[in-house]
């Protein structure tokens, strides 16, 4: 009995270990395949072309700046909406709402998180962009703004739920101390709870930005797909094109191994690195806040 138990242990432990290490393997594999298909771009396309402002692959113009700019402006627009709305919603859910409302709000926000983005894009085409076109008197409703509004919806659940966790993690005693000193509930939220949860809220915003930069289908459906370098906020009201949409729209039509194919993988590398930076920063922030909380509480 005992020997067979131990024998079983010998088999199962390495399997579990291997599964544990698999995450490292996947990240390495993903990076390797992006590099192996994408890095030749640097040989095939002169840097001056690659970092120019003209994206027109049919005539060998591979300037990725308009695509970077498109991703940037759409994400910026999304954050202008999603950060205030998301953080306020989190404060409302965590600090103010009565228990019942909370039980309804939380699953609803989570539901939005599970919403397929293609459905949002679909409604964006049929409802949002025609409405924006009429409302703002634009020549087309398929603009960066439409993309930003959809992205706000996609980033909101991330921002709300992680901010709310951060607010929840602020010790009860902080609030009690503040109230005992005569502060109102509102002052307590504003001067005590929110500052104490600051790193967690920042983490939430970073991860929200990550979701917005990486979103593909919804953005591709509503932003009008014009690779123009946006140089000001007025470009919010014009069609743009993001990096993700470019990959999704063009990968189906390129020949495997062509320069265009390699450049699309190169854009993939850029996206990978952006998400890497965002996520490492976000998790560093989260770890720092946890350490500080431990120091204060001990």
């Amino acid at each position: 009995m005992k020997t067979s138990n131990t024998k079983y242990e010998f088999i199962i432990t390495p399997i579990i270990k291997a599964m544990g290490f698999s995450a490292i393997l996947f990240v390495v594999l993903i990076f390797y395949f992006l590099i192996s298909e994408g890095i030749v771009t640097l040989k095939e396309v002169p840097l001056k072309n690659l970092f120019s402002t003209r994206w027109y692959p049919i005539e060998d113009y591979y300037g990725i700046l308009p695509l970077l700019g498109g991703s940037l402006i759409v994400t910026l627009g999304a954050m202008l909406v999603a950060v205030p709305v998301g953080v306020c919603t989190a404060i409302y859910i965590s600090e103010i709402s009565p228990g019942r409302t909370r039980e309804i709000l939380k699953p609803l926000v989570e539901m939005l998180g599970g919403f397929p983005s293609v459905v949002l894009g679909f409604l964006g085409i049929l409802i949002l962009s025609p409405y924006l076109r009429i409302l703002m008197n634009l020549s087309t409703g398929l603009t960066a703004l439409a993309g930003s509004l959809l992205l706000a919806g996609i980033a909101l659940p991330t921002i709300v739920s992680i901010s709310e966790d951060a607010l929840d993690a602020v010790p009860r005693s902080y609030r009690d101390a503040s109230l005992a000193l005569g502060a109102t509930d509102w002052q307590t939220i504003w001067y005590v709870t929110l500052p104490a949860a600051r790193s967690g809220v920042l983490t939430a915003i970073m991860l929200g930005i990550g979701r917005a930069v990486g979103e593909t289908i919804a953005v591709m459906m509503v932003t009008g797909n014009a690779p123009v370098l946006p140089t000001g906020l007025r470009y919010l009201f014009m069609p743009v094109r993001t990096m993700t949409a470019t990959i999704a729209a063009e990968m189906g039509e390129v020949a495997e191994g062509s320069t265009h194919y390699h450049v699309l993988f190169f854009i993939g590398i850029v996206l990978f690195l952006i998400s890497l930076i965002i996520n490492v920063t976000a998790s560093a922030l989260a770890i720092r806040s946890r350490k500080r909380a431990e120091r204060i509480l001990s």
């Binding site: 242990e9 579990i16 599964m19 544990g20 709305v85 998400s275």
Partner: protein, 287 residues
């Protein structure tokens, strides 16, 4: 403190609370409106023929059966690959891993996997599964791609569920002579099963609704028959909705809303399942 001061402070509080309430409802009301609107517009299109028929007349008529079946196949394929691996990795992190550099590397990898844009997963799947491993555009390649995308969600929720099982349970089991694996298998896993299940369903829900990762790894524009092997390409609900709302001119609006409704129904059913399992488990928990 004088009275007027405290009444201004309370006025501030009222304004502040009002503002936050408005913001919260700004988040929630669109969700409810969108759901009701799709339900209202899509319901007239739903019929037995729509759910069990093949598209006809250049997809402008007929049903969406191949897309429904394709999404079910892809979700099952994703589960076969991601569920054992995700739970195994979670068990490693919660029960075996020490606090060292290697564990930190694993954690950073998981965080990064969770943040990689879905279209980049698509590129990776194209490079590794479709071209390098020669699976072609297929259910297999799509499931593997979606699987790797789903793994970080499953790992983090499953690990949290495993960690919430009190340490004393493990100590008692080991002190009674059980091995580490017996303890995990008989004591820890059964206690954590509903939390793990919630994570699994939420992960699969995301996979079922994704379009970008299957664009170049699994999705077919139109298929006149159901896929018969894992090496066949397949239609899928999200990709089908994308196609009929952007690529097919003159598409009847009811079919578009009908397809959106079926997709939403599919995904939200999973979501509600997960929510119910979690809240029941919380209510039943004895520690």
């Amino acid at each position: 403190m004088n009275k007027s001061n405290s009444s201004t402070r309370l006025a501030y509080q009222k304004i502040g609370y009002g503002f936050l309430t408005v913001m919260a409802f700004l988040t929630v009301i669109p969700i409810v409106l969108v759901l009701l609107y799709i339900l209202k517009q899509g319901l007239p299109a739903i019929s037995w023929e729509f759910l069990t028929g093949f598209p006809s007349d250049g997809m402008k008529a007929g049903g969406i059966l191949p897309a429904i079946v394709g999404t079910i196949y892809l979700t099952i394929g994703t589960a076969i690959f991601a569920v054992p691996l995700g739970i195994g990795a979670a068990i490693y992190l919660s029960e075996y891993a020490g606090d060292n550099k290697l564990t930190r590397a694993i954690r950073i990898s998981i965080i990064n996997l969770a943040g990689i844009p879905s279209v980049v997963y698509g590129l990776f799947g194209l490079g590794l599964f479709v071209i390098f491993m020669k699976f072609g555009t297929s259910i297999l390649a799509g499931s593997l791609t979606l699987g790797i995308m789903t793994i970080p969600v499953i790992i983090s929720t499953a690990e949290e569920a495993l960690r919430s099982v009190p340490q004393s349970f493990r100590i008692v089991s080991i002190s009674l002579g059980a091995t580490r694996w017996q303890t995990i298998r008989r004591i820890v896993l059964p206690q954590a099963v509903s939390g793990i299940l919630t994570g699994v369903i939420l992960g699969l829900e995301r996979a079922a609704g994704e379009t970008a990762p299957i664009l170049f790894t699994a999705a077919a524009f139109f298929l006149p028959r159901l896929p018969t092997s894992p090496f066949d390409a397949t239609m899928a609900l999200p990709y089908h909705l994308f196609v009929i709302s952007t690529q097919v001119p003159g598409m009847p609006i009811e079919i578009q809303y009908g397809t959106a409704l079926v997709l939403i129904f599919f995904v939200l059913t999973m979501n509600i399942f997960a929510t119910v399992i979690r809240s029941r488990a919380r209510a039943r928990r004895q520690w």
